[in-house]
Structure formats: C-alpha cells, structure tokens
C-alpha cells in the first residue's frame, strides 16, 4: 500500500488506512533511532529542503534529524535568510528551488493554505509542517503514534484537548485524525478560544475542566500564546491557569492512568503546573522522540519509491 497523494498537506486528505500505514511505518523507523548507529541509507542521494517561514526550533530540528537518519541531504531555509525578504513571491521561491531538483519540500508558513499553493505549483512532494491555524499533520500523527504506543489502539479512546482550539493547527489536525481513527474527542477552554460551531468539527465542548477530564484516556494541553492574546481572549495567566490549567487538583477528577500530552513548548505554570509535568503518565517527551520516527516514515513514504 502507498499514500494516494503526492503531498501531505493535512490529515483531511488521509484515509484511516493511510494513517495506519504511516504509523506502522514509523514503528520500524523508531527502531532505527534506538540503534547505536542511528542511520540507514534509505534516502541516500535525496535532497530535502525545509522552508520555515515561521520561527520553530523543535519541528525544524525534528525534520532535519529525521532526514539525516535516512541519509538524505537536508537544507534548511528560514524566513530571515530566504528571498522572502527580497520581495519574491512564495510561488517564485518554490519554482527556483524546484529548478535545483529537490526530492521533498517541507513548508511551515503563517498563512493557512500556503503549503497547498506550493504543492499545486510544483511536481515535488510537499509536507505541511504547520500552516497558520489550519493544519499540522505531522504533529497529529506523532501524537497518534504516542497514544497508540501506550494504549494499543485509538478506536474507542476518549481524548480531551484543552486550550485555544480556535488558533490551533495542532488541535485541528488532531481532531480530524482522532475522528478518522474512531476516538471520541472533547474540547475545553474559554469560548473566546473556540471556533464557531465547534461541535461540527466532531467534538463535544465541555466548558468546565473538572467535568471535561472525567473518564478521558488522554488529555492534550495546548500552548497558550500569552504574548498575543493576554487581555483579549483571556484576562491573564493567573485566571487562565486557575480555570483551564492542568494541576493535581483537576487530575483528581480524572482517571488515575490518564495520559498527559502537550505539543510544546510548555508554559510551565500556565497550561500545566510543574508538578503535573513530572508525573509518570506525562508523555510529553515521548511525543518529541516519536516526532522523529513519524517524520522519517513520511519522508520514506513520500520519496522512497
């Protein structure tokens, strides 16, 4: 079986079978990362260009390590060094890079739909590494991989996502993926951070966090963009953490073995209290480890043929 699309622009385009294929492939990729020599020749001679039009450390590094463990040549272009500052359009930048015959483009952009613009214009496969508030498919896949690793299966599980759903590409991709795989998704947060008609995304909105955590198998806390939204969509960190932050008092209403996830970087003491981050069932660092494996799998599936 192979992926039916040239690109990975979002979870929306994937079938449940394709998601399973990616996750199954990632299992063997994870094994590579556990070896003493963490490199296989699979993508030797392939060129991967990652274009980050938005600052990111962990996602960019994760893609870079993934490419290198598969022996690909990985070139990073960041917004400040790219021709975007010289006034070139995104499409023209893409055509110029295309002229150098890359095998895969990885694109992060502040505008929803930007990776699709490139994917439509170029024959090279494109992986969306996050576009605006639209999708972040590799994050959702690594989250799914991490849950599957702990709970065997996604079907029938109950996943709670807490925070700024409105502006979160992580939440959008996760909701799509979890629904496709048969998990039930609940969301919680102030209404200022909920998309209109949030139920139509296939989730249940629960306003109160202590109610929302009840019987959840997994709690995903989203990062609060405090620099951008304080005062506007929530009064301040203190009130946010009191009503929508995860702490031990809230967890008393949850299952004892609930898994706690966060896409990072964490605002300690805001969305998650420090004592919760160190709990054994907090699998935030597993997510980071698995990100490399999932991205290796995608690189292989999109270019390896």
């Amino acid at each position: 079986m192979e992926l039916s699309h040239k690109d990975l622009l979002g979870i929306e385009q994937l079938t449940a079978q394709e998601i399973s294929l990616i996750l199954d492939t990632a299992v063997s990729m994870k094994e590579v990362s556990a070896r003493e020599i963490k490199k296989v020749p699979t993508l030797r001679g392939k060129t991967i260009i990652s274009m980050f039009y938005e600052p990111s450390t962990r996602t960019r590094t994760s893609f870079e390590i993934a490419g290198k463990r598969l022996s690909a040549d990985v070139i990073n272009i960041s917004a400040s060094s790219s021709s975007v500052v010289k006034g070139e359009t995104l499409e023209d930048t893409g055509r110029n890079l295309q002229a150098m015959n890359p095998d895969l483009l990885i694109v992060r952009h502040a505008c929803a739909g930007a990776p699709k613009l490139l994917a439509d214009a170029l024959p090279t496969p494109v992986i969306n590494a996050g576009d605006g508030s639209h999708e972040h498919p590799t994050q959702a896949l690594l989250d799914a991989f991490t849950i599957r690793e702990r709970l065997e299966t996604l079907a029938g599980r109950s996943v709670l996502i807490v925070g700024d759903i409105l502006h979160s590409r992580v939440a959008r991709s996760n909701i799509l993926l979890l629904n496709k795989m048969g998990a039930a998704v609940r969301v919680c947060g102030p209404l200022t951070m909920m998309p209109r008609a949030v139920e139509q995304l296939g989730v249940e909105y629960v306003p109160c966090l202590t109610d929302a955590v009840r019987d959840a198998d997994v709690i995903m806390m989203l990062r609060i963009q405090k620099e951008r939204q304080q005062g506007a969509r929530f009064p301040n960190e203190r009130e946010y953490s009191r009503f929508f932050g995860l702490n031990r008092a809230v967890l008393r209403h949850a299952r004892g073995d609930v898994l706690i996830m966060h896409p990072g970087p964490v605002n300690r003491g805001v969305e998650i209290s420090p004592d919760v981050m160190s709990l054994p069932y907090s699998i935030i660092l597993d997510q980071v480890t698995n990100g490399v494996a999932v991205r290796m799998a995608l690189m292989y599936l999109l270019t390896g043929k």
Binding site: T192, A232, P235
Partner: protein
C-alpha cells in the same frame, strides 16, 4: 422573634398569588401563609396590621451606584442600603464604576464585606474590562467566585466591537450575565442633553438618540452571534424599544430595563438648566417617553431600575455643561412606578414583576417569594398614601433629584429583610 403580617393583599405574580392573607415569619423565613394563620401561642410575635396594604416579595433594584469604595462623600454601601430600604427595596445591584473599580475579586470581596453592615442585600456587579477601559477582559471566573452576580462597564460602552464580542464570549464561558450601557461615545461625545427642539433653544450640546440605538443594535447582534444573553441598561429612546422588541420577536435572548425618569420626564425639564435633569442617557422627547411606556406595557422592557447615581453639590451645583450625569432614585422609584399603575399603563402585577421576578431572572438571583419556606424578604406597600418629597428627608447621602416638592401616591411602609423590619414608616 416571629412576625405576623395580618390581612395583607399578598401579591406575587410569579406564584400566581393575589389574595388577602396572613403571613407568618419565623426564623427569617416565611413559615405559613393563609387566611387563618395566627401567631404561635405563647411566643413573642410582632404584628403588622396590613389591612389595605400590599405585601410583595422583596423588591430588587438591579441598577444602583453605591459609590463605595472611593466616593463615600456621595454615598456609602450603608447609606445607599438605608435609601433602598426606605424606597422598599430589599436587594440592590451596585455597578462597578467605583474607585478603585470593581474589576477584581478583592474589590468585590470588599464590597460584600461592607455589605454585611448594610440593612438590605447588596449584589455586586463587576466590570467587563479592566478599569472599565474597554480593552482587557477582567478575571470573570475569579469575580464570579468572589460573589459578583453580573458584569457591566456601566457608565461606559465598550467602543471596540471585537472587545465586546470577546467579553460576551468569555462571560458566557462562566455563565455570567452581561449588562450593557449602550452609547456610541464617538457620537455622544461632549453632549449634555437630548438632541431635539429643546437643545435647539437652549444651545446645549446634544446627544442624538442614535448614540444609544447604534450600540443597542450592535450588542444585540453580537449577543445573537455568540449565543449569550444581554441586558440593555436604562433604555431611553423609542428606537431602542423598537430594536429590542424586534429582537425579542426573533427569539434573541435580550432583556431590558428603563429608569423612572425616562417614563416620567421629558427634555422639557431641562429648560431651567437644573443639573438634576442631567443624566446619561438624557431625558428624551415626549414621543420617546410614550414609547418607553408602551415598551413597559407590552413587556419589551422587563425591568424598572433606578440608576441611582448620587452626586454631591461639588458635582451638581455647577454649570450644566460641567455637572455630573445622574440622579438619586431609590426613594422615588416605587411611587413613580405606581403612577404608571394609576394611569393604567401597567397593572399592579406587571409593576411588581418589573421589580421582582424579572430582575431576578436577568441576574440569575435566587430571590425571595411569597410562599412557605422562602426567605422572608417582603415589601409592604401602601398604594394610597399621599406624600410629598421634601428636602432633607432623603436617606441617601446625596440629594440630586429633580423630584423635590412632588406629591406622590403610594409608598413602601415596611421593608423586611430576612424577617427583620429594616424600614417602617408607621412604627
């Protein structure tokens, strides 16, 4: 001690009650109502002979300014509560434009602490935005936990529509009612009276009715979009009444209040440059007054609230342009409303609803009722008493009212809070 209210016309529209009954109060609660209820044998029992009087559930004034903390020379929570009791009110909601503003849980707790010495119940309304500045949201969850019953930037309108939208959404997250002072200040800026024939004569800077109506329309549209309820404060124009009536017909969750001066006085009252005719929104035209009365009669306007706004001579004994907006109203609201009953605009039951179940529903306040088991907050009204408002006779610390010298019919003669008589005119 027990209290027996004898042969009162017991009137509680929400309970469908309107009959001559005895009401027995023990331990702060109503323990029995009935024709044959008598004082318990042997025990101490005060008796109020209420023949010819009306007993209603304790009246609520959902719009007052008690000025504490910060402007205690105008009013304190204790003095405002005494004025409320004298006016027949057992509970008052107080707005957030104090100094400091009630925009944080500490101030809410301070108000409630001070209210423990007050003779009526005090329901703090907290600010929607920090400092009522219309930019940053307050800690609404924290404020609710501290005891705030609702949210309002009364005195100011939030100018930025996106801030208002987010405030409504955030308030909805915590199921907090939002009360809206509707004024487009870019239009009303500098104005001191209604824009009409009288302002044309007096040369005072005008406030167009549209300044109110634009924001009534906006806030209803925002409430409809985000799915929260809004309550429009001090409706003063015919246009606002029409907008609210249409919204209600459409099923929008909007409620509204007006103040007695908006159905009693017109902008003609401003002709003498009496600063006690300066309020915000301003006294409007005769056709606006007629529309307010129609809105009260047909239920478009749910609540009558005083907008009790005490100011001292420092703010009022000055040029009309420089005077502060607002008048005291707690002690004149009930008779001015009873005048609507005698004029046939409202039934007595409608008038009582606008002070009891309607404001309680807006605030989500578990109010008293006239039934066994209820907290004994009771207002006893003499509907026929003729009296004249004289200078020096107000309980409020301030005396900024245009109604001195006016003769009223009807008055609260007993105000009972938790079974205790806190105001008695006849005792």
């Amino acid at each position: 001690m027990a209290l027996l209210i004898r042969t009162a016309r017991a009137l509680d529209p929400s309970e469908g009650l309107d009959e001559i009954l005895n009401i027995l109060v023990e331990g702060g609660r109503i323990t029995a109502l009935g024709r044959d209820i008598e004082a318990p044998a042997g025990g101490d029992c005060d008796v109020i002979d209420a023949a010819g009087l009306i007993a209603a559930p304790g009246l609520i004034d959902m719009h007052t300014h008690l000025r504490e903390p910060g402007q205690e020379y105008k009013e304190t929570i204790a003095s405002g509560a005494r004025a409320a009791a004298a006016g027949g009110f057992t509970a008052v909601a107080c707005m957030a434009n104090t100094y400091p503003a009630n925009d944080n849980a500490s101030t809410t707790r301070y108000i409630l602490e001070r209210a423990r010495e007050a003779c009526v119940r005090v329901l703090p309304v907290a600010a929607l935005t920090v400092g009522l500045k219309g930019t940053a949201l307050t800690e609404m969850g924290d404020l609710k936990e501290a005891g705030a019953v609702a949210l309002s930037d009364d005195g100011c309108s939030i100018a930025d529509a996106q801030v208002m939208r987010l405030a409504l959404e955030y308030a909805r997250s915590f199921e907090m009612p939002v009360l809206c002072h509707c004024e487009d200040s870019s239009l009303s800026f500098g104005g001191v009276m209604h824009e009409g024939a009288v302002s044309a004569v007096l040369g005072l800077r005008p406030i167009a009715p549209a300044a109110e109506e634009l924001i009534v329309q906006r806030d209803i549209a925002l409430a409809e979009w985000v799915g929260h309820c809004v309550h429009i404060q001090h409706v003063s124009t015919a246009g606002s009444v029409r907008i609210i009536r249409e919204a209600k017909a459409r099923g929008v969750r909007v409620t509204a209040e007006t103040a007695p001066h908006y159905f009693t006085l017109t902008d003609e009252a401003v002709r003498g440059f009496d600063t006690n005719t300066k309020m915000n929104p301003p006294l409007r035209s005769a056709s606006d007054v007629a529309a307010i009365r129609q809105g009260l009669a047909d239920g478009t306007i749910d609540v009558i609230a005083s907008d009790h706004a005490p100011h001292s001579s420092l703010e009022k004994d000055v040029e009309f342009d420089h005077a502060a907006f607002g008048i005291v109203g707690l002690e004149t609201m009930l008779p001015l409303t009873l005048a609507l009953v005698s004029e046939g605009v409202l039934t007595l039951a409608q008038a009582v609803e606008k002070f009891t179940c309607n404001p309680a529903a807006v605030l989500g306040y578990g109010r008293a009722r006239l039934k066994a088991g209820s907290v004994a907050d009771i207002t006893i009204i003499d509907p026929d008493m003729l009296w004249t408002l004289e200078r020096g006779r107000l309980y409020s610390l301030s005396c900024n009212t245009p109604f001195f010298g006016r003769t009223f019919t009807g008055r609260a003669v007993y105000t009972i809070v938790g079974g205790t008589v806190v105001h008695a005119l006849r005792a």
